[in-house]
Symmetry: C3
Subunit: 367 residues, 3 copies
């Protein structure tokens, strides 16, 4: 069984290239590769050091994994100048192996392909008043509701639901069972992974005589261009106005965003991040896994929020915060260090008490 | 492009009313509005101060947003007596602007409407032994399994699955792709948002010789009346007996509830809350975002659990707890204050040591 | 209304057995039950002490619930030797009541049954190139994409999507709306609960000029045999190579696993656990609720990670860790104790300062 059988790429999809051609590709993209080995060696796939087989290229970026170089069955490896490698391995040396391997993955493998719907599948369920752009691929089991508009070249997998009056941009890719509530706007080239929900009602209730009375959530969600959202996320529509996600922002899985929250451009949110409502997040912000943000606060541009941090106050531009409640990283490191020394402090205080008692006794004796 | 085109409300749905009429509505609901402005001005929508256009009404409740009053294009604003506002804005002054705006949203916009299924859509998949109440709207792509009963006026969106022998109440609203496992009971006027799962098996295994042997989960889930559950939540069925959610309780998104946990009435659970199994939660309890509760404990009535808190012990009625492990808020505030002063304590101890050494030296010198 | 009507078991499914027969069953499975009561009493169901009715058997394992013995309407109870019980209750005494009741649940109730698809339901959507094993039950509303292979006796509920070239084992059970991306391998006897997603792209982007450029995620997910995964989970495919879950591992709900993470056999992950990418987890590892693990670290065999812990460093075999950052439990307990005594430490330091000032004054007076 060859690697393609286990990996499943169809033979006709597989590009292959010589090491010399791969180095040319890297040079075209602005890198300066140095080839140590056979320029005519044919490479058919990129793989990890552990999983690579003959004819495949791998890479070493994190020094932690250097020992894997000794055991790899890859035919070639991309790595930094100066890093030692066993004889017999062809090498492409380059300053940024991770950037280089990214380029080679795109070159040899490309992105996921989406087959056209088959005639025998039966049609999706599209409202007569919906408008579907040219070349959109809408699979059976999709519902497109009244007056929704779907852009050109969109791909919408089975089980998706697009609510009334939504606007879905060009080249949008919705994996199975994505649900988009009424009036949502989604920009161009947006990808949303399976079972994510956009535009559900937020937690909007007024307390009346010990009961929660629902406030109609009449706002909506607006998603910019080039956004990617992971699986099983949920983005509340606004009570009034909009919840928004800026251009180029990327979400991992299981993220929830509260109503009226506005997120800037080119942010990165790791898995299980949760934002309450009416939060404002700037551009180029990173939230690490399981971080949370309370409502009605402002997070500036280029902020980094550490894993599991709980942000309860505004964060200025460029700051890195950690902990619960989240504080600047330098303060947090000091705090953790102090907490780690609490046992020692405790003993020191005990000793001070004894020495003091001793002195007091001496003085009393002299008096 | 006017606001309705972007927002998507259909023209025939839009109510409009004069400021005088809106004040009458507020008075009918028990508020005491004072109108400062043109009673005949026509209002067509509610919106945020930032997004409002001419002909729309907005509100100011949180003083934090007072500066937005200067820039709003709204024609009228609801706000407290005594708060200053720019000339030219019509004002409705009222003690509780948030309650007032809720009433006005309902008056002008109402709740989401659900179109009847179209004849050309094809039928849902309903088992011959299922019983469907009068006027239920069940869209195509829904599966209703053996002996399930659906109440009158229920609305069930595409992709929902209702398992065997479920009982779904009147006027229940299930958004797309909601999955309800066998034998679940759902009360009247319950709303469940997209992709939520009710009644899946909990984590019930017996360890036998280093393996986990599955324990059949033969209990079920019971949900009371007027419950609303957000998107992508998961509520385990009980191993034996039931997991239950009381009347009027509201959940946000991405909440998980363990098997056999019983939640009281009129609670509010914010996003990403997680409860283990066999927990008992009283009435009128609030759990803030990302809070967690370990198994087999009891949380009393009217308890508030802070964001990210980890509850590991019983909590008495009326208590507010914070932190991990969660402790009463007054203790937690003191603890956070002490931790913030650890650096200072450390320096004080250093200084004490020096002063003590100095005294010891003096005494030795005298001896 | 009898219990079966509310619980929904169909009459023909219900087994019943005498207490003598139930004791025989326990003995066959290696337990040593002692019956105190009527051997001919007929038992028709297992239930909780609170919910049990006449003719049913319950159990007491956790001493916390001992008071419920007084009020139960069960006809018989399984409990430890020596625990007092009210007169009139038939008793099966056994060293491990929890293990015993598990056996009795399986004996009397068995596991969930899955009806065959009905002829009138219409067919699922299966690609001509897909291969379906014998006796697989694939319900309408399922999509099986190109070249996927489904094992014998698999059960796939409505709304599931199985991507191109997936390999799904024998006796696999997929509840509604499970989405499995292309090239995923799932072993035999795997159960996946509703709305879980396997194989979506991970958070793989290269930063280029302030934007995130997507790295094709060309790896896949491999799931071993006898795995069970809860509702609304998400398991990223690997960038290269594979993300894997070992044999017999069990997940609760709302768990996310990052790309390239490898999880061993017979682990137990509680709700809302989150693992970043490239993590290695050994065998027999327990992660409690809401625990998180950062990327590129190694967790050994038989490790226990406490609820809400944030693991940021490698954890050796057999260790139990708690807290954020997670540290060994003995250190964490000491730390929590010290933090709880901070107020006292603070006062002690104050008193030391006063006593020292007093001494210094005395010495100055003498000088």
């Amino acid at each position: 069984m060859n690697w393609y059988e286990t990996h499943g790429l169809e033979a006709q999809d597989v590009k292959q290239a010589t090491l010399a051609q791969l180095c040319d590709t890297l040079r075209e993209r602005g890198l300066c590769p140095e080839l140590h080995g056979d320029p005519q060696r044919v490479i058919t796939a990129v793989n990890t050091l552990e999983d690579a087989l003959e004819g495949q290229i791998s890479f070493l970026s994190n020094p932690k994994y250097e020992r894997l170089l000794q055991e790899t069955r890859a035919s070639a490896v991309v790595l930094r100048p100066g890093v030692e490698a066993p004889r017999g391995l062809d090498l492409i040396r380059v300053e940024d192996p991770y950037a280089a391997i990214t380029i080679l993955i795109v070159e040899l493998h490309g992105y996921r392909r989406h087959r056209p719907p088959r005639a025998d599948e039966g049609p999706p369920n599209i409202a007569p008043t919906a408008v579907i752009g040219p070349n959109a691929r809408i699979y059976p089991g999709v519902t497109i509701d009244d007056e929704a508009r779907i852009g050109a070249d969109a791909v919408i997998y089975p089980g998706c639901y697009i609510g009334p009056r939504c606007r879905i941009g060009d080249q949008v890719l919705l994996y199975p069972n994505v649900v988009i509530y009424d009036d949502t706007h989604v920009g161009d080239r947006v990808t949303i992974h399976a079972n994510t929900v956009i535009g559900e009602d937020g937690l909007g209730y007024a307390p009346v005589a010990g009961r929660w009375i629902k406030i109609p959530q009449i706002g909506r969600v607006t998603i910019g261009d080039d956004v990617e959202i992971g699986a099983n996320c949920a983005v509340d529509r606004a009570t009034l106005g909009q919840t928004s996600i800026g251009n180029g922002t990327k979400f991992s899985n299981l993220i929830t965003i509260g109503h009226g929250t506005r997120i800037g451009a080119h942010c990165l949110f790791v898995g299980q991040v949760g934002l309450a409502g009416s939060v404002t997040v700037g551009d180029h912000v990173t939230l690490a896994g399981q971080a949370g943000v309370v409502g009605h606060i402002r997070i500036g541009d280029r902020v980094t929020v550490g894993a599991k941090a709980g942000v309860t106050n505004n964060v200025p531009d460029g700051e890195t915060v950690l902990g619960q409640p989240a504080i600047p990283i330098r303060d947090m490191r000091r705090q953790v260090a102090y907490i780690g020394r609490l046992g020692e402090m405790h003993k020191t205080i005990k000793r001070l008490e004894e020495r003091l008692a001793e002195l007091e006794a001496q003085l009393r004796a002299k008096a």
